[in-house]
Symmetry: C2
Subunit: 812 residues, 2 copies
């Protein structure tokens, strides 16, 4: 153990004796509480020798990283108080959960939000017992931890979360510890480049602290084994000026770290002054710290003859037999007593003034910083009227409008009115996704070199584009979690890159729904475009509409999926999503010119209901239909309407009902999703026994998964994306996946027995159309003009190629 | 346009006039063919002025990166010939698809594998027309492209694929172009650290070429805008010695690039000599190239008054109206003629000798290098007998075996017999996943600094561990695609990190199944462990069994999912997977001590059938059961058996059938998956009308999606993971998700009407057990001993807490 001696030797540095003692006492207290959380369920103040029943039967937690996290916390507390900083702390090594819990308890925040965990011996007993214990709290930094916006489960997002928090918060300092394990992940490795996207004039500062603990679970870390020169090169290459603090002697380390922290904060202040007062717009070289300290610092040096401190054996629980093995128990007691708890806690078990005095008070406590409970700071967006951007629709199923371009105009106005707490994020796809109009009121964020020929790049731009979906997502999460608003637009195929991130965010939302002191935050909004049905540009390797499947596995109360069929519906959906809280909203909408169906009033009604019969496209008025054609998604909707028209041409008295789905969760049972339809409501749309041909945007099986409990499920036949594709035309992709108008019409014909002999005739003709299409497209490289230019004419009578009324009388 | 003049000025460099002319001619030819592919469908040799009908109606493709890719290709050809190199080429900017297609055609490979695309004018016409055309080839580097192992759809994996190809191929040079767009992605950013995992003695070399084109779709790139010093720092920080080649004048660039390439190859040769001949084991500083050239190099400088060459406007198709706009068409013709096709192609349209002479012949052609068609080199693994590692099982449902540790022993023997073409990959989890025994015969790969205390680290280790799932996956893909074997072990929760990568690999497999000249490669094998039911260590944020859902959306002919219930079944499944070809095999198995059910012979039969009734756990012999208890996954299997025991205790004459599923795809309809059961076979297991309580490892909806067509689907009630959890005990996680024995038994009781009054009694008792459990676990932090220590005793009569035979006579 390398715990400091009672009489610290004199080491040169900025700390006087009092400061040194205060920081060391705070650190010892946090370390003591951390070990206690991992090991103990009784005797929290060591009032008596440790007995087996004081030790938890299951020991879970990560000691290795924790003393380093606590060390940084203690030092940040000094400078927050000294400089009156507004600071928060993102801990990349989130498995060091005992650390921030200990800190929040020492600062009093923990007892404020969880009164039963009071600042006395019974509270301490609860604090220790609850950690990684059934009915208690997780072993990692989690939503339950005051002061955290950063789920400590999956590694890689510490820096992108930190920058997300810093954007538009000019007064905020975000200290971000990056573990050297985490540093090996891809998302973390590229997030260092956030230095090119943070504006020293408008945004806050991030102070990265690369913590070289040296070891992961069972391996050394790469960055700890490349030598100091190469590491310095790497960090300078990321745009930083690294300051190295290295060692294990606490006193020396206290002085060195304090000096380094002062220097970094002076540099940050100077950078911000230059940018804000002198108008310097060049990208600065931001300072950062490299902290190289032993893994499991201050823990037992050796257990059972094997090295523990400074080795991978410290990663989790350094020794695990403390309940049953007296030797281990003695090691534990010696270890805990080495922090001298009798100096740190008073007779009641509360932290003594010498410990309490280090940390700042009120909102300046990092565990109570309001930015870390972003919902408390959240202000609703000022919302322009989306109806102002309505597309005129005189006849349904006509026109050629790029839906996302219309959305872009609306987003431009949202941006214009919310220039301090709204941003757009995209992996180099903002303009490709047709949201370019937003650049009329802001620029793309860019703090790296600029050239005169550049297009809308500026340090204070609010459209954030880097070719890293991970970084976009991480920035946005950090931005939302600190109480702001945003939207992530992404090609549908590439959004799988952030599957595990959205997963973690959705679970964060689910958990915070059960934590009363966590205020609701703005929803995480996705616009997925360049979708699977219009991937003619890129080819098969890109095509995957399964992000929807991924998100609907999460808890129903945090997931919403919308498939607006046209521009006006998209506007209404977007307005709703931007106003909403605590959801992951997935909106799928095409960016290519497409038919429009609903005028604004109809679109608002339809988007609000989320599902409905399109009377103008149906001819089953007042009767049960012969067949229901259902659709969800813009391309499936168009093909469904075209199929309805084809059917009407061949079978004028066939009663066809067209049902369009905007809100996918309406399909689910009301017991499974709050948006779910009741059984009766579902039956009134889909009937109890008529055939349903359902054309769906994504993988068809999802519709079955959502509807398997429905009365008429047995008759629901779903067409969707079945993993066929290559670089081909828009219509040909539909044909390859059998979701095109002709295949849908054939499916309907095959399901309605009463059509009799004509059905064979019609079927043959439709197969002929498919053959004609394939030949044409392979020769000309484009779709048949009649398909390319098709518009709905259902309301104006049968289409010309119809052979007229050839329907047989209803037969068996 | 910056195309070289006919009389190149004298520029100092290693190339003599003849070499310079040859390289430039080859480059011009490749560029000409690239432009032709993007634009033309007629008049391929410009025998006449371009007319509208010569131009494709839809212009798709990416010109911007292509001339740079072609430039590198031309230069590599020179050094391959000069040094007799065994070299292949990974093109990160895969959208530059026309480039490698042009190269393969120039080298003759294209016509060898696609004879209809011959080396003459009709072949040229086909070459041009097919590109990004319906029925043709994709616009990016794809499986269809000879010489490629790297799908050019989603960016980020060029380097990890390149290193995967280089491992265990000491004679191979892998040139890897990294686009500066791709360089912003997380996976690419961390894959530079592969320098710490490539052994100069045993492995081949990777030569990264960072191509600073300067622009993405609509933005500049980060690495092009950070200044040369910072970029150099960054690349040195990654462990490289960067050599910069910068400019736009072709002659100067030819000389500079040739000199740089010579220098890099000399350095590589020296590194390998030192390692191989002198035994130097320190990590070398590998050379790399930074190529800064204009985007759309040699393209039109300006179109319609706007800059094109050297701007983001070159990214895709530099101007799009060439069919209809005469001005644009003239620009196109001038552009294409600037390459002087009359010097490059003979009267028939074949490349003239001056062009053909540059490239090497036979297998030395990069487009024909056998490593890029890995199946052709693939040798089956030498397989030890997995039965040698069988766990003895005398009574089913007893014992406490870590299944993956048993697998580790088998893998150790597989490794021992295949020390040149088999590797294990894991994100720092190999030992945690209980595969540590493999370290008895090899080490972890580690070329960075080593300390005496390190555990099994060596440059020539074959267990590859970096805390980057992306890098593990990319390495393994590269390794498999070049004809070797491997297995990726990963915590189940974290495998979502590579969702989009496995997606792309599965699509590659699907596509290659339709390409006759592509030989089958070894399957991509996943072992998912530390699974959702045993995440007591880490907590809720980690828990997600949805990777299975993700993969089953891919084509049925490339996806296999196995859920072996115990160690012997796992051995049999692993043996099968390691022998298989062209699949993505997902194997889910726990690593904690667990019950064993089947002896080796039974396990082989069960794994081979993939699904079956466990007679020893059933008591419905010769009759229809009252209820079917089905299960898939180790924990659900244990809970199901315990539920069967509970039911038997309460209702001795209740006919219970236990069905266990190993091969999940057996559930699907035989028309949908080749492993699918026929309707009759399914009905014989699950009955046509009896209630089924199905305990499934993952999200329950997947079972519905797989079985919705089955006769008895309406009676299948699935329990699975429903997104509940926190840090708690193994059994409590089951209770939270209602998949525990008591809840399963209650579900069964509720579904069998004939149980009558006793059912209320039993139900109440079981609910009591749940309450008792929850209270106990919250007090003691561990599961009730009777649950923790439970073993199957079904064969030995009713369990003690049974109230005895209280069953009512069968009622309505």
């Amino acid at each position: 153990m390398t715990t400091s001696t009672e009489q610290p030797p004199t080491v040169a540095g900025p700390l006087d004796d009092g400061e040194l003692r205060a920081i060391d006492a705070w650190w010892r207290a946090a370390n003591y509480l951390s070990v206690g959380q991992i090991y103990l369920m009784g005797n929290p103040l060591l009032r008596e020798p440790l007995r087996p029943e004081h030790v938890k039967p299951r020991l879970l937690g990560h000691w290795g990283t924790t003393p380093g996290l606590n060390f940084v916390y203690a030092h940040l507390n000094r400078v927050i108080a000294a400089r009156d900083l507004d600071a928060m702390y993102v801990m990349g090594p989130g498995h060091g959960g005992p650390g921030p819990v200990a800190a929040a308890w020492l600062e009093g925040t923990y007892s404020e939000v969880y009164p039963e965990v009071s600042q006395d011996e019974p509270g301490l007993q609860r604090l220790f017992t609850q950690f990684s214990f059934p009915g208690g709290i997780p072993s990692h930094v989690a939503p339950e931890t005051p002061g955290s916006i950063h789920e400590g489960g999956e590694l890689g997002y510490a820096l992108s979360h930190a920058y997300g928090a810093a954007f538009d918060n000019p007064g905020l300092l975000v200290a971000a510890v990056v573990g050297d394990g985490e540093a090996e992940t891809g998302p973390l490795a590229t997030s260092w480049h956030s230095t090119k996207f943070v504006d020293p004039a408008r945004d806050g500062a991030v102070l990265p602290i690369l913590h070289l603990n040296g070891y992961k679970i069972a391996n050394p870390t790469v960055l700890a084994r490349i030598g100091r020169d190469e590491l310095t090169d790497l960090l300078r290459g990321y745009g930083h000026e690294p300051h190295v603090v290295e060692g294990s002697d606490p006193v020396q380390m206290h002085q060195a770290f304090a000096a380094t922290l002062d220097r970094c904060l002076d540099e940050i202040a100077a950078i911000q002054r230059r940018a804000r007062d002198e108008g310097v717009s060049e990208r600065p070289r931001w300072p950062m710290v490299v902290l190289r300290s032993p893994k499991g610092w201050t823990g037992p040096a050796e257990v059972d003859g094997l090295p523990v401190e400074g080795s991978w054996r410290s990663h989790q629980v350094p020794f695990s037999n403390a309940r049953d093995d007296e030797g281990h128990r003695r090691v534990l007691e010696t270890w805990m007593r080495s922090y001298r708890p009798e100096e740190l806690f008073d007779a009641d078990g509360a932290p003594v003034p010498a410990v309490r005095d280090l940390h700042p008070g009120g909102d300046r406590r990092m565990s109570a910083n309001p930015h870390t409970n972003g919902g408390a700071l959240l202000r609703p967006l000022r919302m322009p009227d989306f109806r102002d951007h309505a597309v005129e629709v005189t006849e349904p199923g006509t026109g050629a409008v790029e839906a996302t371009r219309v959305l872009g105009r609306f987003l431009r106005e949202v941006m214009r009115q919310n220039m301090h707490d709204f941003r757009l994020f995209a992996p180099d796809e903002n303009n490709s996704n047709r949201l370019g109009d937003v650049l009329e009121v802001t620029d793309r964020t860019w703090v790296a070199e600029r050239l005169p020929t550049d297009d809308h790049l500026a340090p204070d731009g609010r459209v954030m584009e880097i070719l890293s979906e991970h970084t976009c997502q991480g920035w946005l999460e950090g931005y939302l979690l600190t109480g702001r608003h945003g939207l992530f637009s992404c090609y549908e195929a590439f959004v799988h890159i952030v599957d595990s991130m959205v997963n973690q965010h959705a679970k964060w939302l689910k958990t915070t729904n059960g934590i009363p002191w966590r205020q609701p935050i703005a929803s995480l909004n996705y616009l997925l475009t360049s979708h699977v049905w219009r991937q003619d540009h890129n080819g098969f390797s890109h095509q995957d509409p399964g992000f929807i499947d991924h998100v609907v596995n999460k808890k129903a109360d945090v997931i919403r999926v919308y498939l607006p069929p046209d521009a006006n519906t998209l506007l209404s959906v977007a307005d709703h999503c931007l106003r909403s809280r605590q959801y992951v909203n997935v909106v799928v909408a095409g960016k290519q010119p497409a038919l429009q169906y609903l005028d604004m009033d109809a679109a608002v009604v339809h988007a609000t209901k989320g599902i409905g019969i399109w009377d103008w496209a149906s001819n089953d008025a007042g009767q049960e239909p012969d067949v229901v054609l259902a659709c969800a998604g813009d391309v499936p909707t168009m093909e469904t309407l075209a199929a309805a028209e084809v059917l009407r041409g061949w079978f004028p008295d066939l009663r066809v009902r067209v049902v369009n789905v905007v809100d996918l969760m309406r399909l689910q049972d009301e017991r499974e999703h709050p948006h779910g339809l009741s059984g009766a409501a579902f039956d009134s749309l889909f009937t109890r026994d008529r055939p349903v041909v359902f054309a769906y945007h994504g993988y068809p099986w999802l519709i079955h998964r959502l509807t398997y409990r429905r009365t008429n499920h047995r008759n629901i036949h779903v067409r969707g994306y079945v993993e066929e594709g290559t670089t081909t035309t828009p219509f040909d992709i539909c044909v390859m996946n059998r979701i095109d108008r002709f295949n849908l019409a054939i499916a309907a014909i095959d399901l309605v027995p009463r059509l009799g002999a004509t059905s064979a005739h019609a079927r043959e003709a439709l197969v002929g159309k498919l053959i004609e299409h394939r030949a044409y497209v392979r020769t000309h490289g484009v779709d048949l003009p009649e398909i390319r230019d098709w518009q709905w004419s259902g309301a104006r009578g049968p289409v010309t190629e119809s052979p007229g009324p050839l329907v047989e009388p209803e037969s068996a």
